[in-house]
Amino acid sequence: MMSPYLLLIPILFPVLGAFLLFFLGIPEEKDRQRNRYLETIVVLTSISVWILIFMAEREPVQIYSFISGFSIAFRMDGLAALFAGMVSLMWPLVMLYAFEYMEHSKGKNRFFVFYVMTYGVTLGLAFAANITTLYTFIEMLSLVTIPLVSHYGNHESMFAGRKYAAFTIGGTGLAFFSVVMTTVYGDSGRFVLGGSLNMSQLTPIMEVAFLAGFFGFGVKAAVFPLHSWLPTASVAPTPVTALLHAVAVVNSGVFAITRLVFFTYGAGSLMGTVSQTIALLTVVFTMVFAAAMALKQRHFKRRLAYSTVSNLSYMLFGILLMTPHGMTAGLLHMVFHGIIKMSLFLCAGAFIHVTGNEYIYQVNGVGKKMPLTFILYTLAGLSLTGVPLFCGFVSKWNLVTAGIEAGSPQSLSGVFALIISAFLCAMYALSVSVRAFFSTEESDLYLNRPDVKEAGKSMLIPIAFFGILNIVLGVCSQPIVDYLGKIAAGML
């Protein structure tokens, strides 16, 4: 067993390592040098994460204490291992993709420094052992990703960056109320499965605090009234929209809410309260609303961004059911949606990178020129809809059965909404594939475009990896489901 102090390594290493890049003075055009340096950092970090997942002691380690109760502490537990493991698997691959995607972009040094720093911050968020630490890292995550969103520096990007900052920083401020309340009334906001509050029943003020926390962290998870930063932020480079706005940042919101529901307030005391109903109905509404919005979008990445909004609500739906099965299902969707959305975004990015087009009506016929990309896109789309053989089916099946098991009218309405939004999902995801593969000769835009062909290797490898993962996990999902079941039962 290893000392839990070692948890600091994967958090600090990418942050400092990336920061060092500024002082190394690698010129903008020296791509290979920089790429090697950064990929080494990221891969080493990922390796250390996996070593820690298996070896680190499950003891909390306190790094610094502000005042009594409010402290920065880290701990490796099942949920942390899940989130960190997922992120650490994706980062090295998307880095590869980013190297090719960003090759003609300006300001690569700045971009990659922040991109790698985000990795460390995300891991810190995963390892957080109490709510203060979680809150700190969530705010840090917002700050460190702002330069990534406005990377291109044009008017749109700057606006997106401002909006992103206003929503995430300002919104997460709401959660501060919850942070303080749970720290004071709980065991210093320590994360214990089943809740760490020292009251048998929630007082109304605590329910308000929970809702503040839910909506505060829910900004990251793009819960309905506070969702609109996510589609706007899709102007960012694709590696950012894929990894951060489909997985790391948005899932950190879901992760935080999971911590809030199951590890601080406790599912037992929240179940059946008004606050649960309010949160659940918000999420149910978001599912359908965002799916409908996605159908309306004509911009490829905006459509996918709205789809993310909708799917984040699936996860939150599972978690807000507040049953172990619901938690399993929600977390399962977190992992599987990450894989699927990664796949979708990377394919969309490859399309944008190769053709320079960004709109849905411009994909007509491109499937014949980029068959691999769009086959994998189609598989991911089917998976997102919930077709068996793909991983989306497993999580959706668990969500639906968990919803039916919970049996309350809210949860049943959620199940219904889930089915409707799955249908909408088929419409918005698969219509792209149909356009790409089956366009009539008149509408084929790429018939006489010999320059349009598959993207390069370092883009295709991550795309293929996630595509294969999509099917492999869809068929053999049992180990992951069991693992998550153990987390939900508090055995890890």
Partner: protein, 695 residues
């Protein structure tokens, strides 16, 4: 080992076929014929060995396969259909052999998926393979990539998706209500379930889901559109097998979870009757060869569903024998219809590959001198019309017998069932009428265009040996299955219902039903088809265009009303309409108000000014005092000889301070940053309050 080979083999060989096709199309064509042939041989093994097979731990609860009489027969028929169409497709696709890799890949994979459904031992397995075949068969519909095909493809795809999702929902409900999805345990589990209503709702969902594929009213809309645009070998499979997959699903639920459920039976019966009648009428009005056959498929599905409904009702009543008769009838009719549609669609395919058109006026008279085709088509037509000595006769008679049993045993529904009996007989008659229409048009009448007729007559050859073998060989089965001995034994094998062996197919009562149907059919042909539906000797399309369920209801609902409703939501809550003003009012105006209230113009500036003024005044006073003091001192104690007038720096310093302070404060107080600062301030205030209140 047999089942994994049959089910998973095609999933592996599909990509292999694709790879081969990249190198050489001819080898690929032979390879797919070999694959389907091998599949046929293997599936024959099912009948003798009756294996079962399961894999645990994958796909939400594992896959399990089982065989019984019905399943093994359908396993064989599936493989037979594939073998026949593949054999035929070699000639059919002669002209576009290069672009068929995709087509063959999906055909082979769908074969595996279909066998997977047919041999499934639990609903989850059935669902998994059902979804696969839904999506893989989509490529058949859209294969031609014409405008019509794309449109039909969308219809097919979305109905498949809706069906899949509703089925998914049904499965989840059933799993919760009964705790199992295995066909073996479902019957007992459903009867002891604490949630009977949920079981019923799950049954409805499953009926809808599988009904989508079966072409059941009101979700039949894809069927008449998709079959004509697909290549003929694929139409044969769509019509002959994929609809049966739907029926198979409805049957499994009727035999297990909702076994003998009266309400469910009534529902299926009524939907079946509507499908049966509507399909027949649509087929009668159609002037397109393949569309007629497609509508005919729909009608025959209605016949089968009527049988399912009767079986459920009779089981509910406790009439074992009646239920057995209905069950034998419906299963036989499934088999018969698959084989008949195989023959008929391949015959239609022969027309398409020679003429590339399907409208009756243009193909009229083409088959006058094509003997084998004529015989094959005639056998198929006789089979489907239920003429004695051909296969449709026995199954339709059994279905009719089921309804008659119902009239005897189910007193409370006897009135309704009598009406249904007549609808049944008339639909049977319409079947005869539209088949006569097709046969006479293609094989008897002469074309209106005499030059065209001459061209037709001069060309005797229409298909090669392999295709003739496929088309003619499959049509022989009509006669074989038309023998009561063969049919009743087949029925007993599938249903396990022994008394069916004593069924007298040619008893006077049974013949009477058939004769009534055929008479009605002949009359309809002579009166309606020849007098009403033909204008100036042409086959006229008299079906009102507007009467299209899809165009009338589904498409508007799906593409207009639901998006409108959702659009209304998105408009109301969308970022640009209400929400944004509200949010901006909240975030910018609200903070702005705070900012202005405390901001430079209202409070802060006057305050600053006042403060500065006070400070100015105070410093002035202080200064004056000091100056006075200094003056006093200079005048008195510290007096010097020469005192130069000193410039007073103070007012300038303060004015500089004022402007400097303003310059620092302006960017702070204006806009976003200030709002953020105020938020932080708010947080700090909250924090302080809480800390001071609590501690």
């Amino acid at each position: 080992m047999l089942i994994p080979l049959i089910v998973f083999g095609p999933f592996i060989l599909g990509p292999v076929a694709y790879m081969i096709g990249k190198k050489n199309e001819y080898v690929r064509d032979l390879f797919v014929i070999f694959v389907t042939g091998a599949e046929l041989l293997l599936s024959l093994g099912l009948v003798f060995t009756m294996p079962s097979f399961s894999i645990n731990g994958i796909l939400c609860g594992g896959l399990s396969f089982t065989t019984d009489g019905f399943r093994s027969v359908y396993g064989v028929i599936t493989a037979l259909m594939w073998a026949g169409t593949t054999l035929f497709a070699r000639e059919y696709f002669e002209e576009e052999r290069e672009n068929l890799n995709r087509y063959w890949f999906f055909v082979i994979v769908t074969l595996g998926a279909t066998e997977g459904v047919m041999l499934s031992g639990d609903l989850m397995t059935a669902f998994v393979f059902f979804e696969i075949l839904s999506f893989t068969s989509f490529t058949w519909v859209i294969h031609e990539e014409t405008e019509g095909a794309v449109r039909a493809g969308y219809t097919y795809l979305f109905i498949a998706v809706i069906g899949g999702l509703v089925l998914f929902m049904g499965l989840a409900l059933l799993k919760f209500a009964t705790g199992t999805l295995s066909f073996a345990d479902l019957k007992v589990a459903a009867f002891t379930s604490p949630h009977p209503t949920m079981v019923f709702v799950a049954g409805i969902c499953i009926l809808f889901g599988f009904g989508c594929k079966a072409g059941m009213f009101p979700i039949h809309v894809w069927l008449p559109k998709a079959h004509p645009v697909a290549p003929s070998p694929a139409s044969a499979l769509l019509s002959g097998i994929l609809t049966k997959v739907g029926i198979y699903g409805i049957l499994t639920i009727s035999m297990t979870a909702l076994y003998g459920n009266e309400t469910f039976g009534l529902l299926v019966l009524l939907l079946g009757v509507v499908t049966m009648a509507l399909g027949a009428v649509l087929a009668l009005f159609s002037i397109n060869l393949k569309r007629t056959l497609a509508c005919s498929s729909m009608s025959q599905i209605g016949f089968i569903l009527t049988g399912v409904g009767m079986m459920l009702l009779l089981t509910a009543e406790g009439s074992e024998e009646g239920a057995g008769v209905a069950m034998s009838g419906l299963m036989l009719h499934m088999v018969n219809h698959s084989l008949i549609k195989l023959t008929l669609f391949m015959a239609a395919g022969v027309v398409v590959m020679n003429l590339h058109v399907l409208t009756l006026d243009e193909i009229r008279g083409w088959g006058r001198n094509k003997l084998f085709l004529k015989i094959s088509f005639a056998l198929g037509a006789l089979g489907i019309s239920g003429v004695p000595m051909f296969n449709g006769y026995i199954s339709k008679t059994l279905l009719h017998e089921g309804i008659v049993e119902g009239i005897h045993h189910l007193k409370k529904y006897s009135g309704m069932l009598s009406v249904i009996e007549w609808v049944f007989l008339i639909s049977g008659g319409l079947t005869f009428a539209y088949m006569l229409k097709l046969f006479i048009c293609v094989f008897v009448q002469k074309n209106k265009d005499e030059k065209r007729q001459q061209a037709f007559d001069s060309d005797r050859k229409c298909m090669n040996v392999a295709s003739t073998f496929a088309v003619f060989g499959s049509s022989i089965l009509m006669v074989v299955l038309g023998q009561p001995f063969v049919s009743t034994h087949l029925a007993r094998y599938m249903t396990g219902f022994e008394e069916i062996l004593h069924f007298h197919a040619f008893s006077p009562e049974n013949l009477k039903g058939s004769m009534i149907s055929l008479t009605i059919g002949a009359a309809v042909y002579l009166v309606i088809v020849r007098r009403v539906l033909m204008r100036d000797g042409h086959y006229a399309n008299l079906w009102p265009e507007k009467l299209d369920l899809e165009e009338l209801i589904f498409r508007p609902v799906l593409t207009k009303y639901i998006p409108d409703a959702l659009g209304a939501i998105t408009i109301i809550f969308g970022e640009n309409r209400v929400l944004k003003p509200v949010l901006s009012a909240f975030f910018t105006r609200g903070f702005g108000a705070v900012a202005t209230m405390f901001g430079e113009n209202k409070l802060l500036r006057p305050l600053c000014k006042a403060g500065l003024a006070v400070a100015c005044f105070a410093s002035k006073v202080f200064e004056s005092v000091l100056d006075g003091l200094i003056l006093l001192l200079r005048k008195t104690v510290m007096r010097e000889k020469k005192v130069q007038g000193r410039e007073d720096p103070s007012p300038e310093l303060i004015s500089t301070l004022y402007t400097e302070l303003g310059a620092v404060a302006r960017p702070l107080t204006s806009g976003f940053t200030f709002a953020m600062m105020m938020t932080c301030l708010g947080i700090v205030i909250v924090l302080c309050t809480i800390i001071f209140v609590i501690f």
